[in-house]
């Protein structure tokens, strides 16, 4: 919302400085976004008097002028045709910045003659486009500041333009009068009385207006209008054009400019029809659907059923509260004008405006709420202004519908206000503030809400009005004691602790944490079991971000591809975050996913560089599970999803239904589809899956240390190539549950010597005696049991 200081002063009598006004605006919630103050760039320039002007000895068009200035007599060379003896000019001395030229003036020689500054044109000072000659002032003394002269003689030229942000609750502040009222309530001056007008019609309005019954509610509450005949439309007067231009509007014609003036002056959008182009009467009604209208912006709009429009006897001529039609718009030749002021339903206006994608000043205001009590007076004031600017004769006013009664009152609880704000604000001050804002308080502090404040809907809104006027900038912070006395307790839930632990463990394993978007493209989502309609966005920002991610892998693989495109081939990336298995609230689950791409590290002198493989990913998955306290005894099943290499992936689980992690090589087809150069392995820990210990206690179980020395025995078994090591280990472990402490695979060998389809697995079994040292016989007995168990479970034989 833009306005100028002088326009503000139409409504506010004030001696406050611009800075004070700007400070107050921001403080009371009308945040200043930009101020353009011409005085800022013109403050240094002073007036001078041209004492003499001689022709330059070496240039016909240049004059050598002797100019009286506040720094004494100065010689200035000037090429302007009007540079001559006896005129008062604006002097720019050496060292001053000329905004219109973007240079700083220096003492210089022009064709051999020294020049100590310049005399400025309006264009050079960015006052206008005028550049035919230098500024000649009809008055003013040598040494006077130019801005002071302008302020006294041509104030619009130094009128600061203020742009403020208006929050959606304040339609009243979309009119300059509303801003003035706020400033007056803050104590920055006096709100001037409202202008009033009363134009009695001299004839019956020939255009009648009706509102359809079904359009009264949620459509148009009241519509007032009148004909003004015999007007002479044309450019509006300079003062009005200047005002509109200053706030960024293009003057069009007197009739249109009047409506724009009311829009910004008092937040009262109006519309003017060229009455000669209207056939018969006007009817406010709902569109049937499918009708069209060419709008004032030269675009054709097609209506949906229910939109509120204004038709004459022939066709739709205007979109209620949003935009008029081109066919009945006013032009330079309009002589009979029909003026409209109506109260439109805010929600209907917003819906229609949104559907038709029209962002007009009228829509912006009508969807926020117009003061209904001002409707009748607005017609009179606008009529008066049209008569003043364009002449003509006004009919009586026709009215359809009724002005809605918006009167309501809420209790002001002055104690509650102080309790909520935490500031001492005297009850009398509170009442004075509300009164200044237009509220009327009765003896019991029931505050009647002014008709221009649709946002005030309860007592809480009164608190806000008092608080913002009292100044939140001035509010002093008050310590808030902890809810419990003493040392603060841990506040993270076990799951939150687990998430942090998983994250920091993975980073400690050498992975770089990424945060990728929660939405990805459908093709990528489909590779990971997603891309369903349930997880689809209705209005994605692009096709690259159309579906909620089913997994963290696609985002990480895309990140890997981007990094590879930048020349980084090896990397370890991870993310901890939600994936989405449905489109309902809560259909998300927490994952910790890492990927390893390329090699274990750069080429090195130690010869340790190798391609990453699934055992790297498995180790990291196990490390994360261990860090988050997952049970150590797990099953490993081959049931990983389709995005994994079918033979080189597995899930770590507590039974088939309790999957805690998945690891493996990424499926080559996925890598190709996502443009990642492999090898690529990865893991995902389903963070929420590992069970928490049943009894949470800091106490550890007692440490059982055996005094007797442990014994290790190695066995090598020849088994079928598809026998899994874990099967063999589990069989061996089960051979003697008391003596066998651990079983570890330390070698896998595949070779022709073993026979086709065979392999050898070597295990190391650690036996921990409990009561007595083991004899060779004891060990022999256990060994036999191990061999028998392994044979039973895998068909394996001890390797000869």
């Amino acid at each position: 919302m833009k306005f100028t200081l002088s326009w503000l002063k139409d409504h506010l009598e004030t001696d406050a400085s611009l800075d004070d006004i700007l400070y107050a605006l921001t403080d009371i919630g009308l945040e200043v976004e930009e101020v353009i103050n011409p005085a800022d760039t013109l403050s240094e320039f002073t007036l001078g008097y041209v004492k003499s002007a001689e022709k330059h000895p070496d240039a016909d068009r240049l004059r050598v002028c002797q100019v009286e200035t506040d720094a004494g007599m100065q010689q200035i060379i000037c090429g302007a045709p009007n540079a001559r003896e006896g005129i008062t000019v604006v002097v720019c001395k050496p060292g001053m910045y000329i905004p219109g030229l973007d240079i700083t003036i220096k003492v210089g020689k022009i064709r051999g003659v020294e020049s100590h500054g310049m005399m400025a044109s309006e264009k050079e000072l960015e006052l206008s486009d005028e550049h035919d000659g230098i500024i000649e002032l009809p008055s003013g003394k040598v040494g006077d500041k130019f801005i002071d002269w302008l302020a006294a003689n041509d104030p619009t030229k130094v009128d600061p333009v203020i742009d403020i942000a208006i929050t959606p609750n304040r339609p009243d502040a979309l009119g300059i009068r509303g801003i003035a009222r706020d400033l007056a309530a803050r104590g920055l001056g006096t709100l001037l009385p409202t202008k009033t007008a009363q134009v009695d019609g001299t004839f019956e309005c020939p255009i009648n207006v009706t509102i359809d019954e079904d359009t009264r509610t949620d459509g148009c509450e009241v519509f007032m209008g009148r004909l003004i005949k015999g007007v002479k439309n044309g450019p509006s007067p300079e003062w009005l054009q200047h005002r509109l231009r200053a706030i960024g509007l293009r003057p069009i014609s007197a009739l249109v400019d009047v409506t724009n003036f009311f829009t910004y002056d008092v937040n009262r959008p109006l519309h003017v029809f060229d009455a000669d182009k209207v056939s018969g009467d006007l009817r406010v009604h709902r569109a049937k659907g499918g009708e069209t209208l060419m709008g004032l912006d030269d675009k054709e709009y097609s209506f949906d059923a229910g939109m509120v429009v204004i038709s004459d006897d022939k066709a739709i001529e205007s979109i209620g509260g949003i935009m008029g039609g081109l066919a009945t718009g006013c032009t330079e030749t309009t002589t009979n004008v029909f003026l409209e002021a109506a109260i439109w339903d805010t929600i209907r206006t917003a819906k229609t405006g949104r559907a038709l994608k029209i962002n007009s000043d009228a829509r912006y205001r009508n969807e926020r709420g117009i003061d209904p009590a001002f409707n009748a007076q607005a017609i009179e004031l606008a009529t008066q202004m049209i008569l003043d600017l364009c002449g003509g004769e006004a009919s009586n006013v026709v009215t359809a519908g009724e002005v809605p009664d918006v009167s309501r009152a809420y209790q002001l609880d002055t104690d509650r206000v102080q309790s909520l704000v935490g500031m001492e604000i005297a009850p009398t001050t509170q009442r004075a503030t509300l009164t200044a804002l237009g509220f009327e308080l009765d003896a019991n502090d029931m505050a009647s809400v002014p008709s221009w404040r649709p946002d005030v809907q309860g007592s809480a809104d009164l608190v806000e009005e008092v608080a913002r006027m009292a100044s939140l900038t001035k509010l002093e912070g008050k310590p808030m004691a902890r809810a419990q006395v003493g040392v603060p307790r841990a506040i993270l839930t076990p799951m939150q602790q687990r998430e942090n632990m998983a994250r920091r463990t993975i980073a400690a394993l050498g992975y770089n944490e990424c945060v990728t978007y929660s939405f990805i493209d459908q093709a990528s989502a489909k590779l990971f079991g997603g891309g369903t309609d349930a997880t689809m966005l209705d209005n994605p920002i692009s096709s690259e971000m159309s579906h909620m991610r089913p997994d963290l892998l696609p985002g990480l693989l895309q990140a890997a591809a981007r990094n590879q495109a930048r020349g980084f081939m090896d990397m370890a990336l991870f993310e901890v975050g939600p994936a989405f298995h449905g489109g309902e609230p809560g259909e998300q689950h927490l994952l910790a996913t890492g990927i390893l791409i390329g090699h274990t590290g750069p080429k090195d002198v130690h010869g340790e560089r190798r391609s990453v493989d699934l055992y790297d990913a498995k180790a990291d998955a196990e490390a994360v599970l261990s860090a988050v306290g997952a049970p150590a005894r797990v099953q490993i099943l081959r049931e990983a999803a389709e995005c994994w290499h079918p033979g080189r992936s597995g899930v770590i689980c507590l039974g088939p239904k309790k999957v805690m992690a998945v690891f493996g090589e990424i499926h080559p087809k996925v890598l190709t589809a996502m443009d990642v150069k492999g090898p690529a392995v990865g893991f995902t820990v389903f963070v929420e899956q590992p069970p928490f210990p049943r009894n949470k206690t800091a106490t550890r179980p007692a440490l059982a240390l055996r005094d007797l020395q442990a014994v290790e025995r190695d066995f090598a078994f020849v088994v079928d190539a598809d026998v899994e090591a874990l099967t063999l280990v589990n069989a061996a472990t089960g051979a003697d549950k008391t003596l066998i402490e651990s079983v570890r695979v330390f070698d896998e060998f595949i070779g022709d010597s073993l026979g086709v389809g065979k392999k050898s697995l070597a295990i190391s079994v650690r036996l921990q005696p409990i009561d007595a040292t083991l004899t060779e016989k004891d060990i022999e007995a256990v060994s036999d049991k191990i061999i028998a168990k392994v044979a039973g479970a895998t068909g394996g034989e001890l390797r000869g």
């Binding site: 009371i28 919630g29 945040e31 929050t167 959606p168 929600i347 917003a350 819906k351 309790s419 909520l420 704000v421 935490g422 309860g458 608190v463 100044s471 939140l472 900038t473 509010l475 002093e476 912070g477 008050k478 310590p479 808030m480 809810a483 419990q484 603060p488 506040i491 993270l492 939150q496 942090n500 994250r503 920091r504 980073a507 400690a508 394993l509 050498g510 944490e513 990424c514 945060v515 990728t516 929660s518 309609d533 349930a534 966005l537 209705d538 994605p540 920002i541 692009s542 981007r562 930048r566 990336l573 975050g577 939600p578 989405f580 489109g583 309902e584 609230p585 809560g586 590290g601 002198v605």
Partner: protein, 357 residues
């Protein structure tokens, strides 16, 4: 006997390797060595002679033994020195590489913020990111078709045909967690809620996903002055600048009344933003006293309880604190960026150890 001594002492001194030394030991003090043979002769001597020769021979044997072991040690040292000399390696060769992992600034700053608010008695809550429109809007006093709703640039989820419920949204702010937490625990309550939020906006300074942290405190007499103190304390702790100035400006949010936007003191020096100095202001959050309708929506009686709420951008305060220029880069996963702006795995922010190192 002196000649014998001199002979072996000299010989030991001149030995250059361990095997020669061993030969010498055998020749001198071995079972059949010269000294041993002399000792055997003691038996043939008279007791008087024996008394003189015996101790002398023992002394000679001891002396030779210690000379032998000293020489042996010296030879071993020399041999070790020789071996070590040959084991020279180029220590300037690169070490074995070990991947350096990093924590993303969003995670780090979330933990920093949590640490500060935990100390003030706030717990951490979370909520679903796909929300129904009641929690995201209506419960927060943003009725359908209210202009405020349009300002959020909401992402809507697809609705299956025949499902007439209003479409779910990607939460546009963390505020719905206010309602969910009030429903869960009632008043009094102090909670923060960090997490991802979504708005359909993508340009120089906006990304369609970003992170917010919500704060809420409800009690019998919690006021806006308390809110101001909490936020002042927070900014001083977070930016690690004592006395950092904040400015409360009246504003409007549908879910708070009164509402304030909060700026922190800053300056621009050579295009670089500096927090906590100068005369400029940087807007960092929105806040206010919870609207009675919001309390009601969460099942809390606004006649008995009152409280404040605030919301700020995690990415934004991370950018301000750590001088990260571009929001979009947060989500690009450029390795160079992750390594440069990331944090060490063990760099856990705590209040007693400091938030940033």
């Amino acid at each position: 006997m002196d000649a014998l001594r001199q002979k072996y002492i000299d010989a030991i001194a001149n030995v250059a390797d361990e095997s020669t030394l061993e030969d010498l030991r055998v020749a001198a003090v071995g079972k059949k060595g010269e000294v041993s043979l002399k000792m055997r002769e003691l038996g043939k001597m008279t007791p008087e002679e024996r008394q003189v020769a015996g101790p002398k021979l023992n002394a000679l044997k001891d002396e030779l033994n210690s000379a032998l072991s000293a020489k042996k040690a010296a030879l071993a040292d020399a041999a070790l020195d020789e071996r070590l000399r040959s084991e020279w390696l180029d220590v300037t060769l690169p070490s074995r590489s070990r991947g350096q992992g990093t924590i993303h600034p969003v995670s780090q700053v979330t933990e920093e913020v949590s640490a500060i608010f935990a100390d003030m008695g706030f717990t951490v809550a979370e909520g679903p990111q796909i929300e129904n429109d009641w929690y995201n809007f209506d419960a927060l006093n943003i009725p359908p078709h209210h202009p405020a709703r349009q300002e959020f640039d909401t992402f809507y989820m697809n609705r299956a045909e025949g499902d007439d419920r209003p479409p779910h949204v990607l939460r546009t702010h963390t505020s719905p967690v206010q309602i969910r937490e009030m429903e869960k625990t009632g008043a009094p309550i102090r909670v923060i809620a960090p997490g991802r939020v979504y708005r359909s906006d993508y340009d120089q300074t906006h990304t369609p996903m970003f992170h917010q942290i919500e704060g809420m405190a409800i009690g019998k007499d919690i006021s806006m002055a308390n809110l101001k103190w909490v936020l002042e304390e927070f900014f001083a702790a977070f930016f690690e600048i004592d006395g950092i100035k904040t400015r409360f400006r009246a504003s409007h949010f549908p879910f708070t009344e009164p509402s304030a936007e909060v700026d922190i003191q800053c300056s621009w020096v050579d295009g670089q933003l500096r927090i906590g100095e100068g005369d400029d202001w940087m807007e960092v959050l929105g806040s206010g006293m919870m609207h009675p309708k919001v309390l009601q929506a969460g099942g809390v009686d606004p006649d008995k309880w009152q409280g404040f709420a605030f919301g700020m951008g995690i990415d934004r305060i991370a950018m301000l604190k750590y001088g990260i220029p571009d929001l979009r880069a947060f989500f690009d996963s450029d390795l160079r960026w992750l390594r440069h702006y990331g944090f060490s795995a063990l760099d856990m922010p705590t209040l007693h150890g400091g938030l940033s190192k």
